[in-house]
């Protein structure tokens, strides 16, 4: 399955891309996606269609997930 990932802010700098498809051989959760991005130990917010994803939420083929650092307001 493929999940489209949109990175925000400093994650685009540390991971070197803004938006791309990631392929997974089997089912994957939001936590699995974070591990794939090496963000599992970094505080972040992952959302799908504007709704936050919990670690255990399964992702589906074709999902677009926005992954952002935790902003606390300018």
């Amino acid at each position: 399955m493929k999940v489209r990932v949109r990175l925000i802010g400093r994650f685009t700098e540390t991971l070197g891309f803004t938006e791309k498809d990631l392929s997974f051989r089997g089912p994957v959760t939001a936590a699995g996606l974070a591990r794939r991005l090496c963000l599992d130990k970094v505080e972040h917010v992952a959302t799908r269609e504007g709704r936050p994803l919990a670690d255990g939420d399964p992702l589906e083929d074709g999902d677009r997930v926005v992954v952002a650092p935790v902003f606390s307001g300018g």
């Binding site: 949109r6 925000i8 802010g9 400093r10 685009t12 700098e13 540390t14 803004t18 505080e43 917010v45 959302t47 269609e49 504007g50 709704r51 936050p52 926005v66 952002a68 650092p69 935790v70 902003f71 606390s72 307001g73 300018g74």
Partner: protein, 622 residues
């Protein structure tokens, strides 16, 4: 007294006199510094109803016990006065060499009174104050003014100045420093202009008194390195504050077309990556470890220092997606010394009012050249600019035809660049901000998304807003010190009481700061009530347009969504309940007494009904 110098420099611009006064340690420990000092002094010294642009208003420049010493991002100064835009207490913090120089000159507070007969600037050199004609500076922008004064007094001299916006008393004129820094959104620059005070220059040579200077130095050097390393590792400064633009767009919280929309397919043209790629220089405040001032070239070739609020309000909010044109607008605001947020919010109101048929005019969303011309007219109060220079709410009241509905403001101050039509907690944060809609008081959008329910109105959101107002008012606005290491890099809050203790010899905990934050916020709201005795809970509402189903997004992730009035009212009641304010939003006597404001409660009661205690929630409806 350690930490504070204990000295006030009071300058009478009418009589050309000055004197050194002293404040007590009891006053210092009750109010900390910065906002706390300014608020208490203005409460005590200004009569209710004083004309904000008259000689009886006072301009304050205020520091605190760790200001100016090398600590992470400790270069902030608070400027404060009664606001001509909101009619209540107002302040802003600004990064400036004046933070260091004023402390070295031996003062924590400067109070400017009266009005000079002619344009002047004031020079403070330790114990000496001199008054200088500013005829050759009057009419100059802030960049030229800064340069002239730097050439004369040196690059590290502490300089605050105003541009033509302040001179012409634009109600959202700011105070400027170090070319890129600004403070005092609710018209502190206009107050300075009303006093014919073009600039303040300070040079000091004394030691800043510290309880434990060795520990202060060691801690400062160590923590500056640590925070600097955190920034480098995280790469926060690469995009700076404008990183949040694409997130706001993805989350449908971006102000687009005067907040009518919350997402734009063109927002990427102005996002953090693009502005970072266009960067030609980077600037920061004194003692800064994470310099956020990203300078890009504008259409005319000027260096224009941008951050998210500028980009959001002068870009998508006006539907201007040409980065160089947006940068031109930003540069003009900086040079004229007018607030970028309120300029963007007022121009978007004007375009909307024309679009809705409330008034006639030739300005349309997306017309960058006309926006630039209108910005110039605002600063100089020419033609229609004279109306717009009063801000969106006052302009709307004059124009009529229900155009007040499109003024995106709270208490008269335009909202920062966050569209809250479906972010109830942030709407509450803007609504209850005691100085008007400002993001520096509380920002909870991430909390709402990650830890709560976006469309929910639960008590947890009211509690979060209160918590942040307490922290920000007491620590960041009153020490004063930049909040970015904490909010952007996660620098632990417990560091700040430790800094305070090293400086002053106290033994404060975070809880002591939070209690002081409650005192400060109660008096800030009391100030509003004293100036607006008929106030009610509607003063704490967000822009009414957020409740209007007709302006809900037509598509995207929040299509059809909008705030609901009855639920917002319940959320506001939770906020009042937590604060101990009555259902009108007036602090009760019991609450004021509990935070050490007994005398102030008596004073407030002379002009405004003050309830003895709250009726518990559940027995009073909303």
């Amino acid at each position: 007294m350690k930490g504070w110098t204990g000295n006030i420099l009071r300058i009478d611009l009418t009589k050309k006199t000055y004197k050194k006064e002293h404040f007590t340690e009891e006053f210092a420990r009750k109010w900390i510094g910065g906002r706390g000092f300014a608020l208490k002094i203005l409460w005590d010294e200004l009569a209710p109803g004083v004309d904000p642009l008259g000689p009886d208003n006072k301009l304050l420049v205020v520091l605190g016990p760790i200001a100016g010493v090398p600590m992470p991002n400790s270069g902030k100064t608070v400027v404060a006065a009664k606001s001509p835009l909101t009619g209540t207490y107002a302040d802003g913090n600004i990064g400036s060499h004046i933070t260091i120089q004023l402390r070295k000159a031996g003062y924590d507070i400067m109070i400017f009174e009266g009005r000079s007969a002619k344009p002047e600037y004031v020079l403070v050199e330790d114990d000496t104050v001199t008054f200088h004609p500013a005829d050759d500076l009057w009419g100059k922008g802030t960049f030229d003014t800064q340069k002239v004064l730097e050439d004369k007094y040196g690059k590290t001299a502490g300089i605050l100045s105003i541009g033509q916006g302040g001179e012409n008393k634009v109600l959202f004129a700011v105070v400027r420093s170090m070319e890129g820094r600004a403070g005092g959104r609710p018209g502190i620059g206009a107050v300075m202009g009303s006093k014919n005070l073009k600039a303040i220059v300070v040079k000091g040579t004394k030691e800043i008194p510290m309880a434990d200077p060795k520990e202060m130095k060691a801690r400062g050097v160590g923590d500056l390195k640590k925070v600097g390393a955190m920034d480098k590792t995280s790469k926060w400064s690469v995009q700076g504050t404008n990183a949040v633009l694409s997130w706001c767009n993805e989350m449908a919280a971006l102000p687009v077309r005067n907040h009518r929309h919350s997402q734009s397919s063109e927002a990427w043209k102005l996002d953090g990556q693009r502005t970072s790629e266009a960067r030609v220089a980077t600037y920061g405040c004194p003692h800064c470890t994470m310099r956020c001032g990203i300078a890009i070239l504008d259409k005319e070739g000027h260096e224009s220092e941008i951050d998210y609020e500028n980009v959001g309000m002068l870009g998508p909010n006006l539907e201007i997606y040409d980065m160089k044109q947006m940068a031109s607008l930003n540069y003009m605001c900086d040079d004229f010394g007018i607030d970028t947020i309120s300029t963007g919010g007022t121009l978007s109101w004007y375009a909307d009012a024309i679009d809705q048929g409330a008034t006639k005019g030739d300005f349309k969303f997306g017309d960058a050249e006309r926006a630039k011309e209108l910005t110039r007219m605002i600063a100089l109060r020419e033609g229609i600019g004279d109306l717009l220079a009063d801000g969106s709410l006052k302009a709307a009241k004059k124009v009529g035809h229900h155009s007040e509905a499109y003024a995106i403001q709270c208490k008269g101050l335009e909202l920062s660049a966050y569209n809250c039509k479906y972010v109830p907690g942030q709407a509450l944060a803007f609504g209850t901000s005691a100085i008007g809609a400002h993001h520096k008081e509380a920002w909870i959008i991430t909390y709402e998304l990650k830890f709560s329910e976006r469309g929910g109105y639960g008590r947890d959101k009211a509690q979060k807003v209160v918590d942040l107002q307490r922290i920000r008012s007491s620590i960041f606005e009153s020490l004063p010190i930049c909040r970015f290491p904490w909010i952007e890099l996660g620098w632990d809050l417990k560091n700040y009481p430790e800094y305070y203790n090293i400086a002053t010899g106290a033994n404060w905990t975070l809880e002591d700061f939070l209690k002081t934050g409650d005192r400060i916020y109660a008096l800030m709201k009391a100030y509003w009530c004293r100036e607006h005795p008929d106030t009610d809970r509607t003063a704490d509402y967000p822009p009414r347009v957020y409740f209007d189903p007709k302006i809900a997004d037509k598509d995207g992730i929040i299509a059809g969504k909008h705030l609901e009035m009855d639920k917002y009212d319940e959320l506001l009641s939770h906020y009042y309940d937590i604060r101990g304010w009555d259902k009108r939003g007036v602090p009760t006597r019991k609450t004021m007494v509990s935070v050490g404001l007994e005398k102030e409660a008596d004073q407030l009661a002379k002009v405004c009904v003050v309830s003895d205690d709250c009726v518990p929630m559940g027995n009073r409806g909303v």
